[in-house]
């Protein structure tokens, strides 16, 4: 259970980290291209809409199969149904890679999730987030979440 889950979640609360996304968008375009500020924000909104779209469709695929948990194959089918089937090869490859890396973790006992954080940094980050949650529960002020990659498996359950 992530600390942020304690706070009321509306669709507006959940957006993508702006600084990270801005950087990604810049890297996707040729180096000398500038992006207007409102276009940045709009692109990020489009990303959120994409996630919503894929989620809904995946959910429907899942329901049709009378399963309770949305699984990777549901996402792949959803992408195909939505007209994004050309992504599936790379998406599946990323999934396979993830499975391999997860196996490595179990075997070597190392924290190898492909993230930029070391195990120590991840623990520090985790402690910080728990502290934030405690502060919130105690009626403290909202601490804005910094832009980060958020890719620690232990926080993802």
């Amino acid at each position: 259970m992530e600390p942020m889950d304690i706070v009321g979640k509306t669709k507006e609360d959940a957006s993508l980290p702006k600084a990270t996304m801005t950087k990604i968008i810049k890297e996707m375009l040729p180096p000398d291209v500038r992006v207007a500020r409102d276009a940045q924000d709009l692109l990020i909104e489009c990303c959120v809409e994409f996630i919503n779209l894929v989620s809904s469709e995946s959910n429907e695929v899942c329901n049709r199969e009378e399963r309770k948990t949305i699984a990777p194959e549901h996402v792949l089918k959803a992408l195909q149904d939505l007209g994004f089937g050309e992504y599936n090869e790379e998406v599946f490859a990323a999934y396979e890679q993830h499975k391999l890396e997860t196996m490595d973790t179990v075997r070597t006992g190392k924290w190898s999730n492909g993230a930029d954080m070391s195990e120590e940094e991840a623990l520090v980050e985790q402690q910080r987030m728990f502290a934030e949650a405690r502060a919130r529960m105690n009626g403290g002020p909202m601490i804005p979440k910094p832009a980060d990659s958020d890719s620690c498996p232990s926080l993802n359950s």
């Binding site: 993508l16 996707m28 291209v33 207007a36 692109l43 994409f50 809904s56 994004f84 958020d150």
Partner: protein, 123 residues
Amino acid sequence: MQANIAKARIKKIMQADEDIGKIAMAVPLLVSKALELFLQDLCDRTYEITLKKGAKTLNSLHLKQCVQSFHVFDFLKDTVSRVPDLGASDAAAEDRSAAKRRKISEDEEDGNDDESKKARVVS
């Protein structure tokens, strides 16, 4: 390039939808990768429009026109609908076609192929 776009945030966005129940652990990763590919496509196609207009800065209007040009982006119509057709850098050339485009946007619900072809031709 970021390998994974904010998996935890993606999961949060997914679960903000009340209809969505449990999500397998690998799912945010798949969505993250799909999102990356989608965003690249969206940027590439929008940038083509930016180039066609001889602009150095990619703006919302280019994005809006991109969405109007490809059926696969239909789900983004509402998101870009509030972008005004006038008021971007090359407003002079837009003036005549803006009125036509605004009308097309309103009629867009039919998904009329002729009309969306018209929108693509306008540059």
